[in-house]
Symmetry: C2
Subunit: 279 residues, 2 copies
């Protein structure tokens, strides 16, 4: 099987490595809108060759790991010119808009919409990691709209990567992703901005970071190019969660203002229930 990866950053680069490491593809070619990234990806051995759109669109497996605002149009263009033996998949963080854009495409069934729940705060080809998806859930959205053979190809890839596959509708995915991933990034960005705004003594941040800051602010190092279209593309779900989050912060704030120790203790005890879900 030949594979083409569009977008040779953190996710696309890691997926290319995973395909190769697991002998899932013969030749792996790559496309990237940035010439610098393309060259770097080639130097790093993420792909065998950098090719143009038309050449990439001939691969047996076409993987879209582009920013989510690029993917819907790119997916459509690729579906426009593939033959029915090819499989196209994406790996984006939001799914509803994409699935809506390609919904009526005559070749829709060749497309498999996926979202592997893996990432780091780093970006670009040099952020690609071996063994990235192992043990992480891969969501497959609206699988009933994909041809059984296309679905099976993608399932088998994730199975080989040791990523448990779970099915979900695109709409359901975007709601859950807002809660479990997007809001974490927003709070982390806001936390970094808060500290950069008010804490003028940067050395102190560095000295004292062991107190919990590092883990909560880690995601604030993430790429604006990746996250801007995720936040706006999943706008209504993200705003819904963000409103609730600001409300919860307000509740805690009022308790601190009023020295309401009993209220604080109860709220934190409730928050502790997250232990039940995340060990």
């Amino acid at each position: 099987m030949t594979a083409a990866v569009f977008g040779l950053g953190l996710i696309g680069g890691s997926f290319a490595l995973a395909l190769r490491d697991n002998s899932l593809a013969g030749e792996i070619v790559g496309v990237d809108s940035s010439e610098t990234n393309a060259t770097l990806a080639l130097q790093l051995g993420l792909v065998d060759r950098i090719v143009d759109f038309d050449q990439a669109a001939k691969a047996d497996l076409i993987v879209l790991a582009t920013p989510v605002d690029v993917t819907p149009v790119l997916a459509t263009k690729i579906l426009n010119q593939i033959t029915p033996h090819q499989v196209v998949m994406d790996m984006g963080s939001i799914k509803e808009e994409l699935c809506e854009v390609i919904a009526q495409h005559p070749q829709r069934s060749r497309f498999v919409a996926t979202h592997p729940m893996w990432g780091t705060e780093f970006s670009g080809p040099s952020a690609a990691e071996h063994g990235a998806f192992k043990g992480r859930t891969a969501v497959i959205c609206d699988g009933e709209k994909s041809a059984p053979d296309a679905l099976e190809t993608v399932r088998r890839i994730y199975q080989t990567l040791q990523s448990p596959v779970i099915p979900m509708s695109a709409a359901e995915h975007d709601i859950h992703a807002a809660y479990v991933s997007h809001i974490s990034h927003i709070t982390s960005f806001a936390l970094a901005l808060t500290v950069l705004e008010k804490e003028r003594e940067e050395e102190r941040i560095f000295d004292l970071a062991g107190g919990g800051f590092e883990s909560t602010v880690r995601l604030a190092k993430s790429s604006p190019d990746t996250w801007t279209p995720i936040f706006t593309g999943n706008k209504y779900n993200v705003l819904d969660v963000l409103r609730e989050h600001i409300h919860q912060l307000g509740v805690l704030r009022r308790m601190i203002e009023k020295d309401d120790k009993e209220g604080l203790r109860k709220a934190m005890k409730k928050a502790n229930e997250i232990k039940r879900i995340l060990k």
Copy 2:
């Protein structure tokens, strides 16, 4: 040197282990207000014996690792009955109130106020870890109010534990700690509450947690008994940071509402500057 540790939880337990692992103390005795914790600490070998207040107050080195609302009164009672060869230190997350309470005590100079920048989301004796403080900064507050020999004893301990010591005033410490540690805990608690409130499908949280949630919500597992008195004890600094944080979240929210991609990109790019400080 004999040592007595008051409060045999995460911090006190880990410090007892560190004292022993580095042969910094001969006998190490412990005191805990919870009989269960005291018994467990003894079983786990954190301390050699559980003793009462009067016995503990005779140790050469007395370490207070109690919740921060307990420490000021406890410190005063201990200073009331020690002799001038003894050293008392604390390890609490806030320092101003404590330093104020003991400021005029005739034995003030025997006290060294410290805060090692280490912790985990776990609590109790079973959370104690070997090698906990290695590589983490230890803040010593208002060191000029401690006798040179007491200061030297504590400095040497942290040096042996490979904790770089930095001096700071108690007031300065509490401001920086609000930014770099306390706010991270508040956002994490609020994030857990947000998700628990709105995300009814707990299985989905578990499945999708790889998307960044785990690292930002980790601190929400922390002990309410530890954190309630920290938030109320450092009230004005914490509220100041919290107000700014809610403001920053509001700014991001409005940008998402207005599809202001350029604004979002710029804000995240600014947040990325945290990379400069935290690699």
